[in-house]
Subunit: 196 residues, 2 copies
Amino acid sequence: MERKQIQEQRIRNYFIEATREILKGEGLKSVNVRAIAERAGYSYATLYNYFKDIKELIFICVQDFQKEAEILINEKALSKPAGKERIREIAKDYIQYFTQYPGIFDLFFLEKMVGISGKHPTAELIYTFLDRLTENDWNTCRELNLYSEDQILTMKKQMNYSITGLLLMYMNRMHPQSYDLFIRDVDNQLSFVLDK
Amino acid sequence: MERKQIQEQRIRNYFIEATREILKGEGLKSVNVRAIAERAGYSYATLYNYFKDIKELIFICVQDFQKEAEILINEKALSKPAGKERIREIAKDYIQYFTQYPGIFDLFFLEKMVGISGKHPTAELIYTFLDRLTENDWNTCRELNLYSEDQILTMKKQMNYSITGLLLMYMNRMHPQSYDLFIRDVDNQLSFVLDK
DNA sequence: TTAATAAATTTAACAATGTTAATTATATTT
DNA sequence: AAATATAATTAACATTGTTAAATTTATTAA
C-alpha cells in the first residue's frame, strides 16, 4: 500500500512540474489541461485521476512557488544584518521575484480561488507572505525601539498593500512605463514607509 | 448618412448597456457574447457587426463607469471644503464605489488589456483616476503649505498604490475577513499617508 | 409598385477549453 | 493463465469566442 502511494505521488508530481513549467514560462493564461498533460506525458483525462480539477493542480503550485521564493529570498538575506535595511532588501527581492515570473504574480494575487478546496488557508498564505519573510527584522526594529508596536503593525500593512498595488499596476497596466521608473517608485515608496 | 450613424450608435448602446448591466450585476466572469446579445435583444453574431470583439465592448464600459463614478464622487465632495480631509472622503468614496461593484474593480484593475485598441489611453485613465478626483484638494494643500511639492507627489502615489492593494486583497482574497475590518484598515492606512 | 440590390440579422459551424463517460490497455491476483 | 482490478485513453459534451453561409429586411431603380 505504501508503494501505491509513492507511485501515485510520483505521477502527481509529473503534472505539478509540468504546470510549474508552463506558469513560469508562458504564464497563467497558457495553463490548460491539454498543455499540462502533454508536457507530463499523459492524456488530458488522466489528470482527473490525480486531481479533482485543474484549479486544485494550479493551487498546489502556489505553495510550491512560495517555498521556492522563500528559500531564494532568505538565502540572499542571510548575508545582511537583521533590521530596517534588510526589510528594504527583502521587499525588493520579493518584488523582483514577481517581476521575473509575472505568471506567478497572477497566480498569487489575481486568480480567483472560488471553489478551491481549502481556499482560505491558501489565501492566508499569500497575503501573509511578505510579513513572514520580514518577521525577524520587524522584531529587531521593535527591540531596538526604532518603531513602536503600533507603528510596526501599520507599517507592515502599508508595505504589503502598497507593494501589491505597485506590482499590480506595473504588471497589468504598464504603469510605470519602464522597469527603471518602476524601481525608482519602489525605492521611493519603501522610503516613505520605512524612513518615517 | 447622419441617420445611419445615429441608428448605428443606438444599437451599439443597446449592447453597451447590456454589458454594463451584467458587469454591475453578476460581474466580469458572467460577461459573454451570448449573454450580452440576449439581453440586448439580438443574436450573438450581430455583436460583431458593431464591435471588433468582446474586449472592445468591455473596455468601452471602463470609460462609462469611470464617468459614472466621477460624477457620483464629485457630487458628494461638493458639500465639503477642499483640502486634506476631503482627500480622505474622496478616497473612501472611491473605495466604496468599487466594493459596491466588484465586477467594475475587476474590469479596471484585473482584466488584461492585451490586444485592446488604444490600450494605453485606457490604462492611463485607470491609474490616474484617483489623482484626478483629488487634484483640487492636493493643490489646496500645496497652497496652504501643508505639504511640499515632493511630499505630495509621493503621497499621491502611496495612496494610489496602497488603496489598490487593499482593494485587491479584500476583493480577491477576502483579506481582511469582514467589511468592518476592511474599513478600519482603510482608515488606518489613509491616516498613515495623510497624517504625517 | 415591384423587381433587383444592398444591408442587417441570424443560424450553422469551428476552434479552444474543462470535464465526464465509455472503452481499451495494463497490472495484479487467484 | 484466466479473472479481476487498476490505470489510461479516446470519444463525447458543454461553454465560450469567432467567422462564414444563409436568410431576412430595407432600400433603390425600373
